[in-house]
Subunit: 215 residues, 2 copies
DNA sequence: AATGTTTCGTGATTTATTTCACGATAAAAT
DNA sequence: ATTTTATCGTGAAATAAATCACGAAACATT
C-alpha cells in the first residue's frame, strides 16, 4: 500500500491545517531556512508536533528522521496536495465593508482562489470596481456565474438580505456557500452552507474570558 | 444536585451554539410564535435536535415534554446564561476594511460586546471616526485599554503588521486576542489567541468542493 | 565504525463531541 | 379517565479528533 490517498479518512480540520503549514513553510522558505522539525513548526503555528506529523502522514512521507523536514520539499508537497483548488472561482454577494475586505485581501490568488464576480443590490454601488472586480446587480448573477464557472458563493450581506442572496445563488446553480450573515439559512439538500459567524466568535470568546475558563 | 453549573463540562462549541439558539429564538419571539420543538429549532439552525436538547440540558430544564420550548421563556433563559459577557469591551487593532466592517456591524451591543477603542498605525486614519469610535495611534493603546477596561483585542491588520499589533496588546495587559491576520502568533503562556482565518475558510471549502467530499 | 542523539511515522490510547435511543412526562384526543 | 401522541432529558453508544509513546531511521560525534 504505497499511496495513502484515502480521502475519506482525512478530516476537514486536517486539510485546514495543511494550509497553515503551507503558509508558514513558504515564509520560512523565503528566509532561506533549510529544514525544520515538527516540534519547531508546531511552536510556530501553535499546534502539537504529533498532530503535524499525523496530518502530513495521511499524504505521504515528507520528513527525514533525525533532521526533520526539508522546507523546499515540504512546501512543494503541500502545494501539490492542495493545488487541486487551483481553478476555484468564487462570487462575493454583498459589497459592504466585509465583502470589500475579502475582495481586496490579496492572499487568495496565491492559493488558487479567484474572486471572479461581485454583486450588490445597492444601485449606488453597481458599476463600481473593487480590486478590479465590477459590482453587478443580482439579476446578472445566473449568467455571470455560469459564464465564469464560479463554484462558491460568499454571502456578506446584512442578515435581513441573506435570504434573497442565498436564493439567488441557489437559482444560479451554486452548490457551496460560505455564509457570513448571522442567520441560519435553509437550503436544498444538495447545497452545502458553511457558516462563519464573526460576532459569535467574539461573543464566545468573551464568555470564556469573563468566566476565566480560557485555555 | 439541583444546579448544573459545572462549567468545566460545557464545551466551547456548546456555548457558541447557545448564541445561535438565542438569535433564532429572539427572531421567533418577534414573530409572536409561542413554542417550538427541538426538532423545529434544529431545522432552522441546521443542527441536530438531540444536540440542542443536550446543549440546553447543561444549564437546566427549559422545555416541556409533549409541547416543546416556550419561546419567551427560552429566550430569557439563554440571555441569563449568556449575559455574563455583559460588560465585555473590545479593542480593534487595524482599521482597514475588515476592522471597519467589525466596528460598523451593529449586532454586538445586543449581546453585550462593546467595541470601545480602535487603533491604526496609518497617520491618515488617526482621528477619523468609524461608528463613533475615533482611531488612535498605537502608543495610546496601553492607556486607553486600561482606562476603558478593555479585555479583548481584535487584530485586523495585514499579516506583516500582526507581530507589532500583538506585542502592543500584550504590553497593554490584554490576555485574550482574536486574530484575523493569517499568521501564527507567538504569545506568552498566559495569553490566549483565537485565530479566525477567513482565507483558510474559503480555501478549505474549495478543497472539498473540488474533491466532491462536501457534506 | 560504533555510539549517542534527534526526529520521524504511526499504532494505541485518550479525550472530546455528537448521535442514538428510550423512559418519563405532559398535552391532546377519544 | 384512558389512550394516543408529541417531545423532552439524558445515560449509553458511536464517532471523531488529538495526544501519547515508542520503534525505526537518519544524522552527528568521537
Amino acid at each position: 500500500m504505497l499511496k495513502k490517498t484515502d480521502k475519506r479518512k482525512v478530516s476537514k480540520s486536517t486539510i485546514s491545517r495543511l494550509f497553515v503549514y503551507l503558509r508558514e513553510v513558504s515564509k520560512l522558505a523565503n528566509l532561506n531556512i533549510r529544514t525544520i522539525s515538527s516540534a519547531e513548526l508546531a511552536e510556530r503555528v501553535n499546534l502539537g508536533a504529533a498532530q503535524i506529523r499525523k496530518d502530513l502522514g495521511y499524504f505521504g512521507h515528507f520528513g527525514v528522521s533525525g533532521s526533520g523536514y526539508d522546507i523546499k520539499e515540504l512546501e512543494r508537497a503541500l502545494k501539490r496536495i492542495l493545488e487541486k483548488n487551483k481553478n476555484c472561482r468564487v462570487a462575493i454577494v454583498g459589497c459592504g465593508n466585509l465583502g470589500t475586505a475579502l475582495i481586496s485581501y490579496g492572499g487568495f490568488q496565491k492559493q488558487g482562489v479567484e474572486i471572479a464576480a461581485a454583486f450588490d443590490t445597492d444601485p449606488k454601488k453597481i458599476g463600481k470596481k473593487y480590486g478590479g472586480i465590477p459590482v453587478q446587480p443580482l439579476d446578472k448573477m445566473p449568467g455571470a456565474i455560469k459564464a465564469k464557472k464560479i463554484t462558491i458563493g460568499i454571502i456578506t450581506v446584512p442578515a435581513q438580505n441573506a435570504r434573497e442572496a442565498v436564493d439567488c445563488l441557489v437559482d444560479s446553480g451554486i452548490k457551496c456557500i460560505l455564509n457570513f450573515a448571522p442567520v441560519g439559512l435553509m437550503v436544498p439538500e444538495d447545497v452545502t452552507v458553511k457558516d462563519v459567524d464573526l460576532s459569535r466568535e467574539i461573543e464566545t470568546l468573551s464568555y470564556f474570558v469573563d468566566n476565566n475558563v480560557v485555555g
